[in-house]
Symmetry: C2
Subunit: 320 residues, 2 copies
């Protein structure tokens, strides 16, 4: 019985850890582990770390594994499995990761950009299982995105589509890491968010977030803000509400352009939960063109801690 069930091996390649797992076709993690990326020791070392992790997982297993999926930062040429210049991977350049792993393990390997893998993960295992078309947004240091249209990942002309973080909501806004101005990432990316809140706290010293003992507010984090929201802190709630309005403005542009009305939100800041989702949904409904408004839905991603592993595994089931 167990042998018949189909499995995939998912590899979530991160800048600090490589997380790996064996995942069933129904999305259960059978076995998982994590190895250091050793990102500063160069691509050969990173590749050997990936191999090491895979070997360890495959060791003694008798599962029916259909293939290996890898979610990687950087630009990925999917057909060839080439990963180009992941940010913060010094000396990487261009590596045909797909072929290298395929050769080593004699298994089909699917490589995809990590934001796209997250979208496929939600489609196959998560909140998008019964949704034809949706936009997946991952809120973290950056704001990542993936576009699912009629159960297919939309990649664009050269595989670079889905950069929702770089939709501008204020063309004269703050300078973004990408070089443009007022991208939604400059409102919703963790670092931007935290530095904005620090600034605003100076005017909101009655908030529980204000800490006399730590005037630099070095311990401020999305999690701390989230706890303050749960404690009913009015300022913290206004922060989350504003964040929802910023995101909602960007998502309304996306809906008007693509006529897609479901947004699935994952990543750390998504931990703000219902207050955030409500603010986003209300804003999108207010801002989109009238015929679209009743259809707008904002949902929490279902894959939480193991989203990376499950997204990578989903590549195998999506493909096959």
């Amino acid at each position: 019985m167990a042998k018949k069930e189909k499995y995939a091996l998912g590899v979530d390649l991160g800048g600090t850890y490589i997380k790996l797992g064996i995942v069933s076709a129904s999305g259960r993690i059978k076995k998982k582990l994590s190895v250091d990326t050793k990102v500063n020791e160069g691509p050969a070392k990173i590749i050997s770390q990936i191999k090491k992790g895979i070997k360890e997982l495959l060791n003694k297993n008798k599962l029916n594994i259909q293939g290996i999926g890898i979610g990687s930062p950087g630009v990925v040429t999917v057909k060839k499995g080439i990963v180009e210049n992941p940010p913060n991977f010094p000396g990487w350049g261009k590596v045909n990761l797909g072929r290298i792993i395929e050769k080593e393990f004699k298994m089909r390997v699917h490589v995809e950009n990590d934001a796209n893998a997250a979208a496929i993960g939600e489609m196959i295992f998560g909140a998008g299982r019964r949704i034809d078309s949706f936009i997946m947004i991952t809120l973290g240091t950056g704001v990542g995105g993936g576009i699912i249209l009629k159960r297919k990942l939309y990649r664009g002309e050269f595989g670079a589509a889905g950069e929702i973080g770089h939709i501008t909501i204020n063309h004269k806004g703050l300078k973004c890491n990408c070089g443009s101005y007022g991208c939604i990432e400059t409102y919703a990316g963790n670092n931007y968010l935290i530095s904005r809140v620090k600034e605003q706290l100076k005017q909101n010293r009655d908030s529980v977030l204000w800490n006399e003992a730590d005037p630099d507010l070095s311990s401020l984090s999305p999690r701390v803000i989230s706890e303050a929201v749960d404690a009913g802190d009015i300022f913290a709630l206004s922060v989350v509400n504003d964040l929802g309005e910023y995101l909602g403005a960007a998502f309304a542009s996306v809906s008007n352009l693509l006529d897609v009305s479901t947004f699935i939100i994952g990543g750390g800041v998504a931990g703000f939960g219902e207050p955030l989702f409500e603010s986003i949904e209300r804003t999108v409904k207010e801002r989109v063109l009238t015929p679209l408004s009743p259809r707008v839905k904002v949902k929490a991603a279902k894959l939480k801690n193991d989203a990376g592993i499950k997204g990578a595994s989903a590549l195998v089931f999506y493909k096959s």
Copy 2:
């Protein structure tokens, strides 16, 4: 010989005139005419005006006509040929225009939203003939759009995609007709543009656009601005440059989202010509993510005066 060439009959349904023409597969207009829409006399009258125009065009012709294409304002359910609530068509509601015309003339009829028809027109006959994926933007009272992905019109979940005019570039900007704020239409739509220029002219009385004799500037129009640009007027040039920067900011969002890098611009304001296109292209290149930047291209639409008729005819050749 003439009999072998394929033709289509194109109907451009406007609020004032219905323009009709017989167009060859290579995009030549063989015969054309125009009838009053009589929009205030209700849908039955409008339909009879459409029929009248078609009859007159078909009269005595011996051309090999493959079908009828209709470009219409409003929401169009393409498969069924239903046109819903075109703005400024009082009492229209929902009309199965496709079936009505098909029944009358025993020919295949293709109905499409006019902005989408313009995109298909450029793909089949115009500036998009050799381009795989592009965004078509029509600048007029509104800012219309159509998305061509891999030689197919992208319609979205319910046929409402392509509303580029309602991408926001300033989430706290001017209120738009659509109910949202800071949509690109509030920067680039004719009326918004003219009223902004009137306001700015008070501070720019050395511009040739400033008219002592007409302090209300009631004769100000995109055409007048365009002539001032040609005459080297610095203020007029700054107006066009700003307009390009506004449009460029919106288009950069579109490129980052869709990984599509060619923009084809048509409609009245496109008459600003090279100074506008240069400003747009420079802005998009500056704002999009680095890998996309070298591919960005902004082109003028090729179908000018008869764009509506040709776009409608193109629906027939696109389908067949």
